[in-house]
């Protein structure tokens, strides 16, 4: 049975957790994407939509493969957010293979513009 992804591109989709914490109220996203280069990641907020993209480069191997299960190459995820967030105080960090994005809850809708979030490199 062939699998079929809508509008398939040569990208893969890492797994994501999303949760809200209070004091201060904030939304946190965790992306499971080890082996990626944090410098080449793109995080864009567009209203209530958040896009995460990057690449996990396939290692060059001279030899014979027995298993090839890990997905390499470009990845991307689009997530719709449950409420408005403020982009000014948003932060992102990459540690131990997990990309963590924290978005403070906003009282009013943000300006409808695309804003990029820098990824902090830690550990």
């Amino acid at each position: 049975m062939p699998r079929f992804a809508a509008g398939m591109r040569l990208t893969h989709r890492p797994q994501i957790d999303v949760f809200r914490t209070e004091d201060p109220p904030a939304l946190t996203l965790v992306v499971e994407i080890p082996g990626a280069n944090p410098d080449a990641m793109t995080i864009v907020l567009d209203g209530r939509r958040l896009l995460i993209a990057g690449e996990r480069e396939r290692p060059r191997v001279e030899g014979r493969w027995y298993r090839s299960e890990i997905e390499y190459g470009p990845f991307e995820r689009e997530v719709s957010l449950p409420f408005d967030v403020s982009v000014e105080e948003a932060s992102a960090s990459y540690r131990r293979g997990l990309l963590r994005i924290v978005l403070p809850v906003a009282d009013s809708p943000p300006a409808p513009v695309r804003v990029s979030i820098e990824v902090l490199r830690t550990g």
Binding site: R3, F4, A6, G7, R49, L51, W65
Partner: protein, 802 residues
């Protein structure tokens, strides 16, 4: 939280190298944008995957035209395929590979480069041709709808595809999605892949979807039907099981099946004609399908029982020993010389022909002369079974041939019923009283008898009930009748008549001694040593207590005597009984028949005629009376037209010859004559009483009584001739029984006297007459008494007063 419907980023642009290794596919087509798992086992393909995985993971997938071919070459492959990336790969322990490939874009093989270690080619991309239009949009939606419906119907397509299909709005991708998920033929898939024009491809896809939908819907309809049939069958089975359980509880465990099995077994054991067996098996199959409660069940059962009990092949062996036959006939019947001879002749012919299917014998004669028992004797002589039916009073054709099975309570006709009782297909079949068969609106039984008795037809006798041909040709039919007059001519035509006439007193005596007395002794538990009857007593019984052609009443009277004897012995009053004349008179009471003739004919105007009836001969009194009148003739006594005319003829002759006869010619002008023939309730026919009437009239006019011991018969003409008549033997025997001494017969009947038994001829005096005058001379013998004047009736006195 849901996935966004449209990506924010443009699809990443993958560069496809011009030169690609080729992985041939069998029985599958990989479409762009689809993920397909493949199993790879061939040496060169494994080598290919190894190389590709270690490099840029790109390869070309081309489908083979011939899926039978193990290692296809370039010439076996379609030239349009898909460029793909190996996404995941696992080497399984047996050395073969499972790979997950992802189609990228359509490519066309431009040039073949290498075949070793695997196929290598140069490719160009074949981009979609798509013009955005309303039509394409409509087609796209149509395909989406159809696909959604198919997913609902088809078990192998997961529900999630619904969502996936709804999310694809790119028409080309939609086509690829549908094409890759449907189980359609490989060449059809290939054609879809090769179609670069998206609109055209959409049309193809929707055509295929429509067709598949139809097939699936039909399939599911069939499925539903089968399902409901199974459910129905299960329900019936369940109910039957319950019924069976109930029956078991009631102690009626499945009698139906046992019944059908029993019938089948019996059927199998029988030797049946082919068509009968077929019919029986057909009915048996029907019986099996019917519940015992169905009304039809009993009908079919009865029908099968009939088939089973009829003697289709059972037969007895014939004994055609003529001497043996003669012995048995002699042992069973007294005298009847001619009849026995005739029967033996018949058997002799049958023996030579080796076939008993000749004409049907018919015994004609008065009651009690042994017609039925002759039939029994023949059966005994031949060693055949004997059956007897009586068709006297039968008016309904269906009595003979049965009713159709559609009628409630229908049964086969009397013919087949009798054969069943005979348990043999070649019995002696006695049909009694065939002259007394009636016919009315219910049909004509005589016509049905025709079929039974006609040797040309009866090999395939078809009873209405059975509706199967039954062979009657081996049956020996014998009919009995009292007279042939009432037997329909076509029936009579098929029979060989054997006349049995009445018995004389001596013959009756012989029969009584030889058969009746021993038989009655036996039936009353008496022995000849303790009970004897004297010859004189037997003759007394014959003479004074019976008057009949046969011996039926004689037997009854004898039985009466032996009953009384048995009573005495049983009471212990006596040890031995000897029946003499006095004892017989005492026990039988006053004599029943005696000098009736004498008493009746003492007066002038009464003559004794002789008549023939189907039950034997009779004496008949012709009474003539006169009163004042003008010479008219009055006739009473249920006389037929013929007899009335014969009376008028006699009257006219007497009047015409009054002078010659010495009568007073004026007498007739002054008197009316009344002729009456008792008994008044019995119809009478025939011209043979002519002479008796003339005699009565002359006796009346002359007042000379007719001699008491003379009986007469003969037809009279206007010129006074006496014409011959029939039934001489019966008439003479009747005269003998009545105690007459002289019988006046037409001279032309002289040869018939030869037929009479010896002792009868001796006992009686015969007067043969040519003319009425001779009759008168003999009858009015002019004895003194005739002149005697006696106080008589009013008419005569009145006549005399004139």
């Amino acid at each position: 939280m849901t996935e966004l419907e449209t990506p924010l980023l443009e699809p990443s642009d993958v560069q496809i190298p011009q030169v690609l290794p080729i992985l041939p596919l069998r029985e599958t087509v990989v479409f762009p944008e689809s993920m397909t798992p493949l199993a790879i086992g061939q040496e060169r393909s494994i080598k290919l995957v190894d190389d590709v995985v270690a490099a840029d993971r790109m390869l070309a997938l081309l489908t083979s035209r011939d899926h039978e071919k193990e290692t296809p070459g370039f010439e076996d492959l379609y030239t349009v395929g898909t460029a793909a990336v190996i996404h995941k790969m696992i080497r399984v322990p047996d050395g073969t590979l499972r790979v997950l490939v992802q189609g990228i874009r359509r490519i066309h093989l431009e040039e073949t480069l290498d075949t070793d270690p695997y196929l290598l080619g140069r490719f160009v991309e074949v981009p979609d041709v798509l013009e955005e239009s309303r039509e394409v949009e409509a087609l796209t939606r149509n395909v989406q709808n159809l696909f959604a419906r198919i997913i609902g119907l088809v078990p192998y397509l997961p529900e999630e595809l619904q969502l996936a299909a709804a999310n694809v709005d790119d028409p080309s991708a939609l086509c690829h999605l549908v094409a890759s998920t449907l189980r359609i033929k490989t060449d059809e898939k290939q054609r879809l892949l090769e179609t670069a024009n998206v609109e055209e491809r959409l049309r193809d896809v929707s055509r295929i979807l429509n067709r598949e939908l139809e097939v699936f819907e039909l399939g599911s309809k069939i499925q539903t039907q089968v399902q409901s049939e199974i459910e129905k069958g299960q329900r019936e089975f369940f109910l039957r099981q319950q019924l069976k359980a109930i029956q078991d509880e009631l102690g009626e465990s499945d009698p139906e099946r046992a019944e059908v099995e029993e019938l089948r077994e019996r059927l199998g054991a029988l030797e049946l004609p082919e068509d009968v067996r077929k019919a029986a098996e057909r009915e048996l199959a029907r019986l099996e399908r019917l519940p015992a409660a169905a009304a039809e069940h009993g009908v079919i059962r009865t029908y099968l029982e009939w088939i089973l009990t009829l003697p289709w092949s059972e037969a007895t062996a014939d004994n055609l020993d003529l001497d043996h036959a003669r012995e048995i006939l002699d042992a069973d019947h007294y005298d009847l010389e001619k009849v026995k001879e005739r029967i033996v002749e018949y058997l002799a012919v049958s023996k030579l022909k080796n076939d008993l299917s000749g004409p049907v014998l018919c015994f004609v004669g008065p009651p009690g002369v042994g017609k039925t028992s002759l039939g029994q004797s023949i059966a005994r002589a031949l060693g055949r079974k004997f059956v007897r039916i009586s068709v006297g009073g039968v008016r309904d054709e269906s009595e003979i041939r049965g009713h159709r099975r559609t009628y409630i309570g229908a049964l086969p006709g009397t013919i087949l019923r009798a054969l069943r009782d005979a348990e043999s297909r070649n019995p002696v079949f006695l049909i009694d009283e065939i002259d007394k068969m009636g016919s009315d609106f219910r049909g004509d039984p005589a016509s049905a008898m025709l079929e039974v008795l006609d040797p040309e037809q009866h090999s395939g006798f078809r009873d209405h009930y059975l509706d199967l041909p039954f062979d009657l040709s081996k049956v020996l039919f014998i009919c009995t009748a009292n007279t042939t007059d009432t037997i329909p001519a076509p029936l009579l035509d098929r029979m060989d008549l054997i006349q049995l006439s009445g018995y004389t007193e001596d013959e009756k005596f012989g029969i009584a001694r030889k058969y009746l007395v021993p038989k009655q002794l036996r039936e009353h538990g008496l022995t000849p040593s303790r009970t004897t009857i004297l010859d004189r007593a037997v003759r007394l019984v014959i003479r004074e207590y019976t008057r009949e052609a046969g011996v039926r009443n004689l037997e009854r009277r004898l039985a009466e005597l032996f009953r009384k004897a048995a009573t005495q012995i049983a009471r212990g009053e006596v040890d031995k009984v000897r029946i003499d004349e006095a004892r017989a008179r005492e026990w039988l009471g006053p004599r029943r028949f005696s000098g009736e003739v004498r008493k009746r004919t003492t007066e002038p105007g009464v003559a004794t005629g002789l008549a023939w009836t189907p039950v034997g001969g009779e004496i008949l009194f012709i009474e003539a009376g006169a009163y004042d009148g003008r010479g008219r003739l009055r006739l009473t006594g249920q006389l037929s037209e013929v007899m009335q005319e014969s009376a008028q003829t006699a009257f006219s002759w007497v009047r015409a010859n009054a002078v010659a006869l010495g009568l007073d010619p004026g007498w007739f002008g002054a008197h009316d004559v009344h002729i009456h023939v008792p008994a008044g309730a019995v119809p009478k026919d025939g011209p043979s009483a002519g002479v008796a009437m003339a005699t009565a009239i002359v006796s009346l006019v002359t007042e000379r009584p007719v001699a008491a011991d003379v009986g007469m018969t003969g037809e009279v003409t206007l010129t006074g001739q006496v014409l011959p008549i029939g039934g001489v033997r019966e008439k003479v025997l009747a005269a003998e029984r009545a105690g007459l001494k002289r019988v006046i017969l037409p001279r032309e009947n002289e040869p018939d006297l030869e037929e009479l038994p010896e002792d009868t001829r001796k006992k009686l005096e015969f007067v043969l007459a040519d003319e009425v005058s001779e009759v008168l001379e003999a009858a009015l013998d002019g004895k003194a008494r005739a002149r005697l004047r006696r106080p008589t009736g009013i008419e005569r006195r009145a006549a005399r007063g004139r």
